[in-house]
C-alpha cells in the first residue's frame, strides 16, 4: 500500500474528496458574501443566519406543505431572498454611505435576532430532514465509497458558482452591476435604477446562502445555530480570497476545504484553526488577499 507521511494514499484520496465537498459550501457561502460586499460594501454578518433560514424553509416546505427537496432547491432561495430584499429595503439601505462598521453591526444584530427567534420557536436540538430518495445510496469511486448525495452537492455547488461568475463577469447585467460598484452616480445617469439593482443584488446574495442551506439540510443537523458555526470560516475564506473578489472566493473556498480535510487526517484537533493560520500567512504576504486588488 502506498503511504504518504504514514497515512495510506487511499485514505488521503477520500479525505481530499471530502475536503472538496466542504469546500463547495465555503465557496457558495463566501460567493454570496463577496457579491454583497463587492456591490453594496456591506459586510453581511447575517449570512450564516440566512443560510440557516434556507435549511429551515426547506424543512418547513416539506413539513407543512408537502413540497419536496427538488422544488425546495428553487423555492427556498426565492423565499429567503425575498426576505433579504425586505431586510435591505427596511434596514441596510439606511446605512448607505456610512462606514463598514455600521453595516457589520446591523447585520450582526439581525443575525442574533433571527437566530433567537428561531430558537424560541424550534428549540436548539433541531429538526429532521431526510436525503431525497433519488440521491440515496453509495457511489463507488474506486478509492472510496462516496454517498451519492455528497457528489450531487459538489456538482450543484460548482455549477451555481460557475453560473454566478459568468453572470457577473460576462453578461451585460453583470457589466452594469460592476459599473454601479465603480461609479454609481454615472450609471444612474444612464438611466439605471441603482438602488433597485443594489436591493436585488442583496436578495441574490442571500438567495445563494439559502441555496447552500437547502444543500446542507439533508447532511447536517437543521438547527438555529447551524449558520453561526460556519460563518466565521466563511469570512476567513472571503478575506483570504480578497474582499469582494468573486473568483477569489470560489477558488479559496474549495482550496480551504481541501486544506482542512488534510488537517483532519494528520492533526484533527487543529482542523478548526488551520483556516486561520492560512489567513494570517496570506494577510502577511498579500494584505489584499490572494485575488484582491490593493486599495
Amino acid at each position: 500500500m502506498v503511504m504518504i507521511f504514514g497515512k495510506p494514499l487511499i485514505l488521503l484520496y477520500g479525505q481530499l474528496t471530502l475536503g472538496l465537498i466542504n469546500g463547495a459550501f465555503y465557496a457558495l457561502l463566501s460567493l454570496g458574501l463577496a457579491v454583497i460586499f463587492g456591490l453594496l460594501n456591506v459586510i453581511n454578518f447575517a449570512h450564516g443566519a440566512l443560510f440557516m433560514l434556507g435549511a429551515f424553509v426547506t424543512w418547513g416546505l416539506l413539513q407543512y406543505l408537502g413540497i419536496g427537496y427538488w422544488a425546495a432547491l428553487v423555492i427556498a432561495p426565492i423565499i429567503v431572498g425575498a426576505f433579504g430584499v425586505v431586510l435591505e429595503k427596511l434596514l441596510i439601505q439606511r446605512l448607505h454611505g456610512l462606514d463598514h462598521l455600521y453595516g457589520l453591526l446591523l447585520t450582526f444584530g439581525c443575525a442574533l435576532v433571527i437566530e433567537g427567534l428561531m430558537r424560541n420557536e424550534f428549540g436548539s436540538s433541531g429538526v429532521p430532514y431526510a436525503i431525497p430518495s433519488a440521491l440515496r445510496g453509495p457511489l463507488n469511486l474506486g478509492f472510496m465509497v462516496l454517498p451519492l448525495y455528497r457528489a450531487w452537492v459538489v456538482v450543484a455547488a460548482a455549477v451555481v458558482c460557475l453560473v454566478t461568475w459568468l453572470l457577473i463577469e460576462k453578461t451585460r447585467l453583470g457589466a452594469t452591476l460592476r459599473a454601479a460598484t465603480e461609479n454609481a452616480p454615472l450609471v444612474q445617469a444612464f438611466g439605471v435604477n441603482v438602488p433597485r439593482l443594489v436591493t436585488l443584488t442583496y436578495g441574490a446574495g442571500v438567495g445563494l446562502a439559502a441555496f447552500a442551506g437547502v444543500l446542507a439540510a439533508p447532511m447536517n443537523s437543521v438547527n438555529p445555530n447551524m449558520g453561526s458555526n460556519l460563518i466565521v470560516v466563511v469570512f476567513a475564506t472571503v478575506v483570504i480570497g480578497g474582499m469582494g473578489s468573486i473568483l477569489g472566493s470560489i477558488v479559496t473556498g474549495f482550496g480551504l476545504g481541501i486544506v482542512e480535510g488534510l488537517t483532519k487526517v494528520y492533526y484533527p484537533e487543529g482542523s478548526a484553526t488551520v483556516v486561520f493560520v492560512v489567513m494570517v500567512i496570506v494577510l502577511l504576504l498579500r494584505p489584499a488577499g490572494l485575488f484582491g486588488r490593493a486599495a
Partner: protein, 405 residues
C-alpha cells in the same frame, strides 16, 4: 445642584425603599430555588425552560406548609465565568438557597466551588462529570440522573457483551469528551474489547464529521463510540448513516430530545442510556402527563425529570429540618436529603449516597423503528438495566475527600 423639595422627598423615599427590599430578599420564610442552565445554546432543549417547569411542578405538588417557595431562572451560556458570577450573586445578594440543574461540566464544576465556599445547597442534574461526587465532591452537593461513569458502564459494557468488541471513538476535544472516552475505554477493555483508534475534534465549531467517519471505517472497528453531545451527536449519526457506516453506533450521551431531532428513520437501532423514560411505568407516565401542558414540544428527559424529583426531595428535607436551618447551611439540608429515602413519580423509590450520588437504576434503551413507534415520542424499548447499586461508581473508587474524615 439645587436642592428642591421634590428631590429631597424622592431621595428619602428611595432610601426608605432600600432596606425594605433587602429584608424581602432575605425573607425568613421563603425558600428560593435558582435554576441555572443553558437557555440559548446547544443544550437548551435538554435542559432549558423545561427544567424550570419541572422544578415549578414539584413546588406546586409539594404544597409547602409554613414557608413559601420561589423559583427563578438564569442563562449561564455554557461559560464557567458567567455561571460562577450568577451563582455568587444569587447566593450572596438575592437570597437563593439552592441552585438547580447546571449542565455543561465546566460550568458545573465552577459552581461546585462557589457552593462549597458558601455552604449552600447545589443539586446538579444536567452535568455529566463524575467529579461532582468524586474529586470535587462537597457535603452540600447532590448529583442526580446521570454521570460519565454510569453512561460508560451501561452503554459500553452492554455493547461489548453483545459482540461489539472493537471500538473507534469520535470525541469532542474538551474535558467532558475525554472523560467519557477514558471511562468507556475502561469498561470496553475490562469486558475483553479493544480500542482501535480515536479522533478528537475541535469543540465547538465542527459540523462535518465525514472525515472522522472515514477514518473510523478504515480502522475496521465494529463499534463507533460517540463521546459528544447535542447537535454534534445528531450530526455524527446523520452523517454516519449517509456514509453507510458498517459499524454499530454507541451514542455515549444521548437524550430523547436528540432522538426527536434525528427522526426515527435515522435514529432507529441506536443504543443509549438514560435513567428516566416517560413511558417506563404508570408513575412516569402520570408525571409526564402533568408536566406536558407546560412543555408540549419537548417531553421530559432524564434531566428534566431529575429537576422535578430533586426539587421535591429537597423541599421534604427543608420541611424536616426547618426553614431557618435550611437557609443557614446547605450541608445540613443535603445531610437531611441523604438521611431520608427518596420517593417520587419520575424515579420511584431510591436514596442518596453519602457522597451525594442519587442512586437509581440505569436503563439501556434501543431506539424503535418507525413501524414499532405507536405515537409521538414513543421512541425507546428497554434492552437491559442495572440496579441502583450496580449502575454507579462504587463509593470507594470516587476519591471523595470528605467521606474519609
Amino acid at each position: 445642584m439645587q436642592l428642591s423639595r421634590r428631590l429631597l422627598l424622592g431621595t428619602a423615599a428611595a432610601t426608605a425603599a432600600l432596606p425594605v427590599r433587602r429584608v424581602r430578599a432575605q425573607d425568613k420564610t421563603t425558600i428560593k430555588i435558582g435554576v441555572l442552565n443553558d437557555q440559548s445554546g446547544p443544550y437548551r432543549d435538554t435542559g432549558g425552560r423545561s427544567s424550570y417547569y419541572c422544578a415549578q411542578q414539584a413546588v406546586a405538588e409539594f404544597q409547602a406548609q409554613g414557608f413559601s417557595v420561589d423559583v427563578i431562572i438564569a442563562d449561564h451560556q455554557n461559560k464557567p465565568d458567567i455561571g460562577a458570577g450568577i451563582a455568587r450573586q444569587w447566593y450572596d445578594r438575592d437570597g437563593v438557597d439552592v441552585i438547580l440543574d447546571v449542565p455543561t461540566s465546566s460550568v458545573a464544576l465552577a459552581i461546585a466551588g462557589v457552593a462549597r465556599e458558601k455552604d449552600k445547597a447545589y443539586l446538579n442534574i444536567g452535568a455529566a462529570t463524575a467529579d461532582l461526587t468524586g474529586k470535587q465532591c462537597a457535603p452540600c452537593i447532590v448529583h442526580w440522573s446521570y454521570d460519565t461513569y454510569m453512561l460508560a458502564k451501561s452503554t459500553g459494557g452492554a455493547t461489548v457483551r453483545s459482540g461489539g468488541d472493537s471500538w473507534y471513538f469520535i470525541t469532542a476535544d474538551y474535558a467532558f469528551g475525554h472523560q467519557l472516552q477514558e471511562q468507556t475505554t475502561r469498561f470496553v477493555t475490562a469486558a475483553g474489547g479493544k480500542v482501535l483508534g480515536s479522533s478528537a475534534y475541535p469543540f465547538p465549531g465542527t459540523t462535518d464529521f465525514s472525515s472522522f467517519l472515514l477514518q473510523a471505517q478504515a480502522s475496521g472497528a465494529k463499534v463507533l463510540g460517540l463521546c459528544n453531545a447535542g447537535a454534534d451527536t445528531v450530526n455524527s449519526i446523520k452523517q454516519a448513516k449517509e456514509f453507510g457506516l458498517q459499524a454499530r453506533i454507541a451514542a455515549m450521551l444521548m437524550f430523547i430530545t436528540d432522538v426527536h431531532a434525528l427522526g426515527l428513520d435515522v435514529a432507529q437501532g441506536l443504543t443509549l442510556t438514560e435513567s428516566f423514560y416517560w413511558d417506563l411505568n404508570d408513575r412516569t407516565r402520570a408525571f409526564t402527563e402533568r408536566v406536558k401542558p407546560r412543555t408540549p414540544n419537548n417531553w421530559p428527559n432524564m434531566i428534566h425529570a431529575g429537576c422535578y424529583a430533586s426539587t421535591l426531595h429537597y423541599l421534604k428535607a427543608v420541611t424536616q429540618i426547618g426553614v431557618a436551618n435550611a437557609k443557614q447551611s446547605g450541608a445540613a439540608v443535603v445531610a437531611a436529603m441523604k438521611a431520608m429515602p427518596t420517593d417520587d413519580d419520575a424515579f420511584g423509590k431510591g436514596r442518596i449516597r453519602e457522597d451525594g450520588m442519587a442512586m437509581f437504576p440505569s436503563y439501556l434503551f434501543q431506539v424503535k423503528t418507525p413501524a414499532e413507534s405507536k405515537g409521538p415520542w414513543d421512541f425507546y424499548k428497554q434492552v437491559s438495566s442495572y440496579g441502583p447499586d450496580e449502575a454507579w461508581r462504587p463509593l470507594a473508587e470516587g476519591g471523595c475527600a470528605f467521606i474519609k474524615t
